[in-house]
């Protein structure tokens, strides 16, 4: 927050926004996001009994709430992954473990210890962050592929342990008391998504963010310039875990039931990484854009027979094309140039080492 661009020139913009044109684009994007946010907050209110009895049109139904809540959930998970994978450059493949720990924290605290759902949500933030802080010490000594595989291993192992201990409900999982409110879970997920974006925004403007990007670009150079790389990496990992856990905690109560398949589904990790990748890793809006577009497509076409199969194939092709030709993501592409020129593709391919 300390480094807001000076009004006199884009010259003072402290980080990635290097040119006045890019600063202008950033401003336009902010206005669009603000308008979208107001609509997202106000429009669902038409579903309340008061609004309906006042004769307002019903703009959202149960299906809309389901899709919107899931989309918001993936914005949280993808933006959270972006903190460790995009900013610090540590490709965590098993972040779903924190979704699972958050989900189980809420399920256990509510059913076993009779905490209120609101209090249990705090547990879904603290427990994953604490676990990430501990496991991060050995895990973050690894780099690149080794770190990716090890983080995936942790996710699988934790899922198996929980599945085999009676304390966690074992294979039959945990059922929770039902809380029936589409509006509540939608607003909670939307709030978590806003929190994730806001945290990314703040991080990118502070010493913490510069330290993380320096680590991503060259860890040994960052260290000799005074960045405490160990502490920074663990802090980013724990922050990422806390946000992912929050999404898991909200999801657990929304879904009423948790077991290994629900809470430790590796697809959640993979989808969220793809969303960040397509949108643009390391950026504020990349994971948001990727999550909204991809999850919306997935939700729209799922469960529609042949069309769903064709859509799956189409998504696969889209991902392949996007990763090859836009390796720095859609946000970078839109922010940098106006057209998909050969020079752009060549430059990005070279810089991504393909």
């Amino acid at each position: 927050m300390a480094a807001q661009p000076e009004p006199d020139a884009g010259q003072e913009a402290a980080f990635a926004v290097a040119t006045p044109a890019a600063a202008r684009r950033e401003r336009i994007l902010l206005v669009v996001a603000a308008v979208a946010l107001v609509l997202l907050v106000v429009v669902p209110l038409t579903s309340t009994d008061q609004a309906q009895s006042a004769g307002l049109p019903l703009l959202v139904d149960r299906y809309w709430f389901r899709v919107a809540t899931i989309v918001a959930m993936f914005v949280v998970i993808s933006a959270a992954w972006n903190l460790i994978g995009g900013l610090a450059g540590y490709p965590a493949f098993g972040n779903v473990v924190y979704f699972g720990i958050g989900a189980y924290a809420v399920a256990l605290l509510v059913t076993r210890y009779h905490w209120s759902f609101a209090a249990a949500l705090a547990g879904s933030v603290v427990a994953p962050a604490a676990f990430a802080g501990l496991i991060g010490v050995p895990l973050l000594r690894l780099r690149g592929h080794y770190f990716a595989v090890a983080s995936l291993g942790v996710a699988v192992a934790v899922g198996e342990v929980i599945n085999n201990l009676d304390y966690f409900g074992g294979a039959s999982g945990i059922f929770m008391p039902i809380v029936r409110s589409d509006l509540l879970f939608y607003y909670l997920m939307l709030g978590a998504a806003l929190l994730a974006v806001a945290i990314t925004w703040v991080v990118l403007r502070t010493r913490f963010g510069y330290g993380l990007i320096a680590i991503r670009e060259d860890e040994s150079a960052a260290a000799v310039m005074g960045v405490n790389t160990t502490v920074y990496k663990i802090a980013a990992y724990a922050l990422s875990a806390a946000l992912t856990g929050l999404a898991g905690g909200i999801y657990a109560q929304w879904n009423v039931f948790v077991n290994q398949d629900v809470a430790f589904n590796i697809d959640v990790s993979i989808d969220s990484i793809l969303m960040a990748l397509i949108g643009g890793i390391g950026t504020i809006w990349g994971p948001v854009l990727g999550a909204v577009v991809l999850e919306f497509l997935i939700q729209t076409f799922s469960g529609r027979g042949d069309l769903a199969v064709v859509t799956q194939i189409g998504l696969g092709l889209l991902l392949t094309v996007a990763v090859i030709f836009l390796p720095r993501g859609v946000v970078d592409f839109l922010g940098g140039r106006s057209s998909l020129t050969l020079a752009y593709v060549r430059r990005t391919l070279r810089s991504s080492g393909v």
């Binding site: 003072e12 402290a14 670009e217 150079a221 960052a222 260290a223 310039m225 005074g226």
Partner: protein, 254 residues
């Protein structure tokens, strides 16, 4: 220069092994406060290993390194940086996705305990240092667009932004042409004049003769010679280390 109170950096029997090879074998010397000390030696002499040991990148296998009397032994690189040791890398390591200015600002955001500025002041300090090294006009460019000499300047600028007491320069003049070397020498003198002690590794003898007050010669991980640059370069052991015995005798004879 060698009075006890005047010593800033003191290396005592510094040893570092890689497997069975002793890259540094009991090297000892002192660096006086506000001195410019050159470290020379043939390829494989252990010069870069020496800088890595001082900056905390390598752990010591033996001996000790004292900065202002405080042992650096076992400290991780960021702690050494915090105590006021800045360094450059022979193979430059810019933060590729950042602009020139952001690269320098990282040094001011972190660095020594005199640095660690809040964001806005860090960028202001980065601008001052970039002006000193002659990169002010290019400060908003991405580092990818910089030439080799400019990347070396940026490497120095980043280290300077950490507000070091001691600056370790690893072959910052290599690959520069004559005019660029002159500019770089001016830069080193300016940095030195601002009160920074400098240890520099160089192969370019003009640099050694031009700015160094004293030179330490390393050969196969050992301290071979030490003294004023002109004297050391005439030392037959030094010539022999560089050229081999046969050529050394011819050089001495002719």
């Amino acid at each position: 220069m060698s009075e006890p109170g005047e010593v800033l950096l003191s290396l005592r029997e510094v040893t570092r092994r890689f497997g069975g090879v002793a890259a540094l074998d009991g090297v000892s010397f002192d660096v006086g406060r506000n001195e410019i000390l050159g470290v020379i030696g043939p390829n494989g002499a252990g010069k870069t290993t020496l800088l890595n040991c001082v900056s905390g990148v390598h752990r010591l296998d033996g001996g000790d390194i004292l900065l202002d009397g405080r042992s650096l032994r076992g400290l991780p690189p960021h702690r050494v940086a915090r105590l006021g040791v800045g360094r450059t890398f022979q193979i430059v390591k810019p933060f590729g996705s950042m602009t020139v200015r952001e690269n320098a600002a990282v040094g001011a955001l972190f660095g020594s305990s005199e640095a660690r500025l809040p964001t806005r002041r860090a960028f202001a300090h980065a601008d001052e240092v970039l002006a000193l090294v002659g990169l002010a006009p290019k400060r908003m460019l991405p580092v990818a667009s910089l030439t080799v000499p400019d990347r070396k300047r940026l490497e120095v600028a980043r280290a300077l932004c950490t507000k070091p007491r001691l600056l370790l320069l690893d072959e910052v003049m290599a690959g520069l042409n004559a005019v660029e070397v002159d500019e770089a020498l001016e830069m080193v003198r300016a940095v030195h004049a601002s009160g920074v002690t400098i240890v520099l590794i160089e192969h370019v003898m003009r640099v050694i003769l031009g700015v160094c007050q004293r030179v330490v010669v390393l050969h196969l991980g050992r301290h071979l010679a030490e003294g004023r640059p002109a004297d050391v370069l005439r030392d037959s052991r030094v010539v022999e280390a560089y050229l081999g015995e046969k050529y050394a005798s011819r050089y001495a004879g002719g």
